[in-house]
Every structure is written in C-alpha cells, then in structure tokens.
Assembly symmetry: C2
Homo-oligomer: 208 residues x 2
DNA sequence: GTCTATATCGGGATAGAC
DNA sequence: GTCTATCCCGATATAGAC
C-alpha cells in the first residue's frame, strides 16, 4: 500500500494532512516533519518557509474543488439534471472530505489577501458559467432571473451544512451516524427543493 | 459620544473588536491592551488568561445570535411571514456585522471542544422550535417533511453568502457596492425561493 | 540530501514597585 | 488598580557538520 515516495512527496502529503485539519495558524512545522518521518531542517530545505509550503497545498486543494465545479456546470446537460448531478457530487464529496471545506474557509479568514491573489491566478472564468446558467434558466424554465443568486443558492444548500456541521451537531445533539444519514438525505432533498423553487416562479412575477 | 467606562468595560470592548476580527489564534493580547489604552499586565489582572477572556466574549456574542433566532421562530406568526421575517432580519444583521459570523465559524474550527461545552450551557431548546416548524409545515402548508432539513435550508440560504463573502467577491470580481446590493436583493429573493420550494411540494410526492 | 544544534523572536504570563 | 521589567516557552528559521 505504501508507494515508495521521494522526500518532497512525503513532505507534501504530510503538509496536506496537517494543514487540512488545523489550518495555517494551527499547524506546527514540527508536526509535519514528524508525519513525514524527517526533521524540521529538511522541511526548510525543500520549501523555503511555512508560507510557501502552505501556498502549494492550498493551490492544489482549491484547484481540485473548482475544476470539478467548472466541469459540471459547463457540461451540456439540461439544467435540472445538472443541478442534481452537482448537488449529489458535492454533498457526497464534501461530507466525506469535510476537512477540505474547513480548510478553504479557514484560509479565507486567516489569509484573505493571499486567497485573493491565488484566486486571480487560477483563472476560474465565472462569467462563462454564470452566462451558461442564465441561458439555461431562460431557455429551459422560462425564467429571467439573476443567475448569480441561483448559483449562490445552490452552493449554499449543498455546502453550508458541512461548514456548520460541528455547530449543528452540538445544537441538535446529532450522533455521527445521524449526521451521515442527514447528508445522505440531502442528496435527494436539496435538488427537489431547488427544482420546486425554480418551477414555482413560473406562476409568480419575476424578481430582479 | 464617549461613554465614560470603567477599565473592565474598556477591556471587554477592545477584546470583542479584536477577537471578532481575528479569531482566537490571530489575536494578540498586546493589541487588545493597546486598543483599551492600558498594558498587558492589567489584562491579566482582570482576566486570568487569554482563554477566559475569549470565553466571555464568545458567550456574549453567541447568545446575541441565538436569542433572536429563538424569539422569531417561537413567535406566533404564520410560517411564511415568519420565514420572511427571519431571513430579512438575519441577512440585514449579518451582512452589516459579518464579523460575527466569521467569529462563530472561526471559533468552531479553532476551539471545537469549548464550543460544544458552551452550547450545552446555553440551553437553546432546539427540539422546541423544530417541533414548532414541523407543526406549522403540516397545518399551514400540508407538508409532512423533516423540519430539520427545512430549517437548515433556511439558515443556509441566509447565512452562507456571508460566510463565503470574501470568496464570492474574489471569484466574481464584485465591488463592495455590488456586494451590498447583492445582500439587499437577497432579502427579497430568498423568502420567495423558499416559499416557492415549499409550495411546490403540494403536487409532488413527499420525501422523508 | 539529511542530520543536530542553535539562533532568534514573538507572545502569554508573572513579579514586584508604586 | 496600574505600571515596568522580565521570565519563559514554543515555534520558525538557519548554521554547519556529515
């Protein structure tokens, strides 16, 4: 099972694990070194400092999220199946890798300026898929509505419960099993909720 | 404008500001002292250590959020106006005090165990208002559906955009003005979205 | 490339004078 | 109750031998 890795890969693997769990401020270089089976000095030999190691990990992780997002939203599927596909994939992925969401959110608060830079570097082309959503809303559902709000609603319904998981679990006293079941249920509930909402506009006056 | 404060109040005011902006790990006792116009030693005279000062601030802030939540959801309003009221209030409040949301989320990651304790101490009685929502969904809309999901959906749509604000702003290149406008629009859009979704269930088969 | 040892510094906390 | 001075530790980073 252990693929024979070179030192750099071992360091990156370890760094990923620790940064994901504890964020930038919470991470100790010592812990990364221990996990990689080397010492601190060697960390600095491969990566100048903590910042640059973090940046490497962040870039990679963030790209993993956004590339899948682009892939789904720019595909040729019809809108409702597309949303269903997206929600299903994301709830599944993030409920099983909740550290990724925590990690992104954490980075947002701990290093807002760097985050901005990095996002600009990774060209995400948001106009493209906002335009795509806008067109599909109009052509397939007959809705002329700001696609940004719809897009944010979809993200919110899929992602928020993962972000707030510890809080929800404490407040509603939910066991880990119940929580897992909760996320399973949402794969079904969220697309239905969104679909109902979108189709409900047909008979009311449009907003914005 | 300057209300003449005693030292303890000055410290708490300063601590609130800094903790809210920077979270526990990001906060320096020195910065709090400077802002309060005193020195570090005096901080430790009034509050044993950083932990206890933080706990005081957190408790107070968290209670401010949840008490309003209870008030609205346990009131006697009909469900749809209640949701509208809730969404309106929360989007308004948190978009103008986004540090509060950041603060709670941050605390969730930085001090998960303490968060749990504190939540248990503040009796939030979540069963009460889940039951209330369940009853209203049934009586007013004829829906037999898990109120937890609906409740989480409402929270998600209201809160998530604030949580992800820096990210959304970077990705979609939104100016501060455009962002403020965006939140204004949501006061209208979110209740409509939810209302459409709930009424859409009437003619489809129920889930869960 | 990898290690041990150490420099350096920031920051929480305390001692003790006033 | 408020201050100055200082302790002390943890954590990043570097020097230098092998």
């Amino acid at each position: 099972m252990e693929s024979p890795q070179n030192t750099e890969e071992k360091i990156l693997d370890a760094a990923r694990q620790v940064f994901h769990q504890k964020g930038f401020n919470g991470t100790r270089m010592q812990e990364i070194a221990n996990l990689a089976g080397i010492n601190k000095a060697l960390l600095h030999y491969y990566f100048r400092n903590k910042e640059s190691l973090f940046e490497k990990v962040f870039n990679e992780t963030f790209a993993r999220i956004t590339s899948k997002m682009k892939e789904i939203f720019l595909s040729d599927m019809a809108l409702l199946p597309k949303i269903e596909n997206f929600v299903h994939f994301y709830i599944h992925f993030i409920s099983h890798h909740s550290y990724v969401v925590h990690f992104i959110i954490n980075a947002m608060y701990e290093k807002p300026e760097q985050l901005r830079e990095i996002i600009v570097k990774q060209n995400i082309l948001p106009e493209l898929f906002l335009e795509k959503i806008r067109k599909q809303l109009k052509d397939e559902i007959g809705l002329e509505i700001d696609p940004l709000h719809i897009y944010v609603n979809i993200l919110a319904l899929a992602i928020f419960p993962v972000v707030a998981k510890p809080l929800l679990q404490s407040i509603f006293s939910l066991s880990d099993d119940r929580m897992a079941q909760f996320f399973e249920e949402r794969k079904q509930i969220v697309p239905t909720f969104i679909s109902n909402a979108l189709q409900g506009y047909e008979k009311s006056t449009n907003v914005v």
